[in-house]
């Protein structure tokens, strides 16, 4: 009799166990780069890899095809065209210059070119060559690699939400 109720109590207690399991068992030992779709080496410190998400990786691809020639000091081909230009184009990771500009502004200056935004005409318009979502991806990429780190611009820029 006593044994029977003891067994019952045990069964009841056991039935709770699965429900009592830890809910957040997935806070794994994973390294931060494991959850990154791609990476970009920090331009100021090549040892440090910056994680990139899908959109930023697409931006990275466009950047290294179209933009890198003038907005970086070293290019896939070696020398940079940056030194040939006056005024000197901003480095894409130059947070001090770019973090203060909101996404709308960057979207416009890339799409319409420098002269449309009262900047140097040496920056050509890319709006008819790149799709708008590609330009958004480029912006997302340069935001991610910015030094100092980009904290979000004051005015909300366009969200990467359209197809």
């Amino acid at each position: 009799m006593r044994a029977f109720s003891a067994v019952m109590t045990l069964l009841v207690a056991l039935s709770f166990l699965p429900g009592c399991r830890q809910h957040h068992s997935l806070t794994t030992e994973a390294k931060p780069l494991d959850s990154a779709y791609g990476t970009e080496a920090d331009w100021n410190n090549p040892q440090r890899l910056i994680p990139l998400n899908y959109q930023q990786v697409q931006g990275q691809r466009v950047f290294y095809h179209e933009c890198v020639w003038c907005h970086a000091d070293s290019t896939p081909a070696g020398p940079s065209n940056r030194t040939n230009l006056t005024p000197s184009p901003a480095l894409a990771n130059d947070g001090a210059t770019l973090n203060g500009l909101n996404n709308d502004y960057l979207q416009n200056v890339i799409s319409l070119g420098g002269s449309a935004m009262s900047k140097s005409a040496m920056m050509p318009p890319w709006g008819r060559t790149l799709r708008q979502d590609e330009i958004k991806a480029v912006i997302a990429f340069i935001r991610q690699i910015a030094q100092p780190v980009y904290q979000g611009s004051s005015s909300a820029g366009p969200k990467y939400s359209e197809r």
Partner: protein, 705 residues
């Protein structure tokens, strides 16, 4: 009496019965309570609480139900329950990283979650309803979720074609193809190339058995932390195709002796013009002159040399052909001359073009190679091999067949071995229980397994036949990603079979042009109608771009138009007759339908238009930021100093309208130019001429430039 006693219900029994009934009822009541505490229900309730804290509660809860949510994907023949917890996955307002998981929306990707589900990319178990079982490989399930850094492997399951959106997958496939993994393994979507490793039928005439010994033992130079060579191997390539096999010294000796005997065809020594040999034999500057010629011919476009700069060994040059730093320690000069004069005579599948040598150039370049590209210490640790015993030759032959050498190398009389290694065409679909971890101290999962196998297959299986590869650190995850994409035959109907394209020379022109095209191996670097290499410009519509005379001049004396390029077209010494054939064919056949040379007459543009064009070029559009004219301008686009001779009028106009319509991956952006501006810019560009025509043009235009 006995029966009465038996039927008698005592109070004790009643009590026991009542108690057990209560206990039973309690247990029954606990069951729904336990159900209430299920993990997914916890997330359901949390989501409602979370949605209520957001301004768009109504929208967030529009589809809410308290049960298990699942999506049915008829196309994939799959059902999955991930959305039970990931309830905000499709809500645009929850895309921000401040939203707690599992409610955060998925970042924008080209596949909509509702159409494709989660498991097709992330893997894991779509039907599980607990966090652990859905994401990890547990005892009851077999596939764990892929870390995001490897998720491009899933892209590869369906997308067999090139996929720029998935750079790591593309890189991995490239390395798989480059290193000829198909030599031993079956790989999904990859075909076995005609030539893998070099044909060894005649290798005894090319190199010494000592070199073969060295090559098998220490193929690569390995540097220690101080940059000093700790292993003085033959090759310096960071990722050589030839791996290091696990042979002992006796085995290497046998193989070297066996291979050293492979002399199917004697190499006839070429006799130089006696005057040349006599004139140059005793003059030391011949070596320097050979070096200059070697550089002028741009051998470095395909071959690299190791150079020590600031204590670090760097490879300078391309990787289409082998690295040549120590080549004179490998080959003898008779072979070298034979090879340089006609590579295909020795190796029919060789990609090396057949140069048109003058005796003097050939003599000098060979002197340079034999004297400078050598290493005196290379054989310092190679024992004297002496004469071979027949038992050693037999052992060498046996090893050649049994250790996989014949998977990549041909020797006449030995059957080429296919599928020497395991079939990897569905390796990415393997479950944990299908993997042999041996004594390897790694996490029991597919990714660590693949990593360990490729980094050092011995660590997993001490009897592995796979040789030691030296993958670059960043290539290993890329290779694993590519293998994860190999999950066997296409399983998703309606997507079709996509094949990984390997540059082929299926564009095979005939006639005199075809002969020259094959002789100079144009397709190794250039692309023609979708076939060929990508190192140099696509020439499919070159005839529309440039006038015939320019093409002919360029073939005779290639000069780069793009200052940033490191790799340049080698000088082949093409004969005048061949130049005529090549230029004529390119002009006639390699044409674009969009460029109509006859629509634009070779009109003389008025001087006013030229002036306006110059203004547009220099002030309004500032083309000089990317293009150089004369000595000033940018490096991005081609040098336009000779645009008037180089480009057709019709091409310039079409190009200015829309560069990508002619060359899809052109960097120059498309601009909104008016027809008038296009004409003016064209008028200006055609006045830009260098060389003998410049003066005439200048006079005709009244000083256009």
């Amino acid at each position: 009496m006995a029966s009465e006693k038996m039927g008698k219900v005592t109070n004790g029994l009643r009590l026991a019965f009542a108690l057990s009934s209560v206990a039973f009822l309690l247990t029954m009541a606990l069951s729904p309570l336990r159900d209430l505490l299920l993990e997914w229900k916890h997330y359901k309730r949390e989501y409602v609480r979370f949605a209520e804290s957001r301004p768009d509660t109504k929208r967030l809860l529009a589809d809410y139900n308290s049960g298990i949510d699942q999506i049915w994907l008829p196309r994939l023949n799959a059902t999955e329950r991930c959305v039970t917890c990931h309830q905000g996955i499709d809500q645009q307002s929850l895309i921000d990283s401040s939203v707690p998981e599992p409610f955060r929306a998925h970042l924008f990707i080209p596949h909509r979650v509702k159409e494709w589900g989660c498991v097709v990319c992330h893997r894991g178990q779509g039907l599980a309803t607990t966090v652990k079982e859905a994401h990890l490989a547990t005892l009851t399930w077999e596939q764990s979720q892929l870390p995001i850094s490897y998720i491009q492997g899933s892209c590869g399951v369906c997308h067999g074609a090139e996929m720029p959106e998935a750079p790591r997958l593309s890189k991995g496939r490239e390395v798989l193809a480059d290193l000829y993994c198909v030599g031993c393994h079956k790989l999904q979507g990859m075909t076995r190339p005609v030539m893998l490793g070099p044909d060894l039928t005649n290798v005894g005439n090319k190199t010494s058995k000592e070199w073969i010994f060295k090559w098998l033992k220490e193929p690569r130079t390995v540097s220690d932390a101080n940059g000093n060579a700790s292993v003085n191997g033959y090759e310096t390539e960071p990722e050589p195709r030839m791996p290091q096999f696990r042979f002992n010294d006796a085995e290497i000796r046998s193989l070297a002796l066996f291979l050293g005997q492979q002399k199917a065809q004697p190499i006839e020594a070429y006799r130089f013009d006696t005057r040349i040999a006599a004139a140059w034999e005793k003059r030391p500057e011949v070596v320097d002159q050979g070096e200059v010629r070697f550089k002028q011919m741009f051998c470095s476009t395909c071959h690299s040399l190791a150079v020590v700069r600031a204590g670090e060994t760097q490879l300078i040059g391309g990787n289409i052909g082998p690295e040549l730093t120590k080549v004179a320690s490998k080959v003898n000069s008779d072979w070298l001359i034979y090879w340089l004069r006609d590579p295909q005579a020795y190796l029919p599948h060789s990609l090396m073009p057949r140069y048109g040598w003058t005796d003097e150039d050939l003599y000098k370049v060979v002197q340079y190679i034999m004297n400078r590209l050598t290493d005196q210490d290379l054989f310092s640790n190679v024992p004297k091999l002496g004469t071979a015993q027949s038992s050693e030759i037999q052992l060498g032959k046996k090893l050649f067949q049994e250790r996989g050498c014949s998977s990549c190398h041909v020797i006449s009389g030995i059957k080429m071995l296919e599928d020497f290694g395991p079939d990897l065409s569905s390796e990415g679909a393997k479950t944990v229980s299908q993997l042999e971890f041996g004594s390897a101290k790694i996490e029991h999962n597919l990714i660590p397994f693949l990593d360990a196998k490729m980094a050092d297959s011995f660590s997993v299986n001490p009897n592995a036949r796979m040789p030691q590869y030296h993958f670059k650190e960043e290539d290993l995850p890329a290779l694993t990603t590519a293998l994860l994409g190999m999950t066997g035959p296409q399983s998703i109907p309606g997507i079709g079979t996509l094949v990984i394209p390997i540059p082929k020379k299926e564009y095979q022109p005939a006639g005199d042009y075809g002969k020259a095209y094959e002789r100079y191996k144009c397709y190794v670097c250039h692309r023609f109608n979708g076939f060929g290499g990508t190192l140099a410009p696509d020439l499919s519509i070159e005839g529309s771009r440039a006038p015939r005379r320019w093409i002919a001049d360029f073939l005779k004396n290639p000069q780069t138009l793009r200052p940033m390029l490191i790799f340049r077209m080698p000088q082949f010494n093409i004969t005048d007759q061949e130049v005529d054939v090549l230029a004529g064919y390119i002009k006639m056949v390699l044409q674009s339908a969009q460029v109509d040379e006859h629509a634009t007459s070779l009109q003389q543009f008025p001087a006013s238009q030229t002036t306006m064009g110059k203004q547009l070029y220099e002030v309004k559009y500032q083309c000089q930021s990317c293009h150089t004219i004369g000595s000033s301008g940018g490096y991005v686009g081609p040098n336009l100093s000779n645009a008037g001779n180089w480009l057709n009028v019709a091409w310039i106009e079409e190009w200015l309208k829309n560069p990508q319509a002619l060359v899809p991956d052109a960097i120059e952006p498309r601009r909104d130019l008016t027809q008038e501006e296009i004409q003016a810019l064209t008028a200006y560009l055609v006045t830009l001429k260098q060389g003998s025509q410049a003066k005439q043009a200048g006079a005709a235009q009244g000083g256009g430039k």
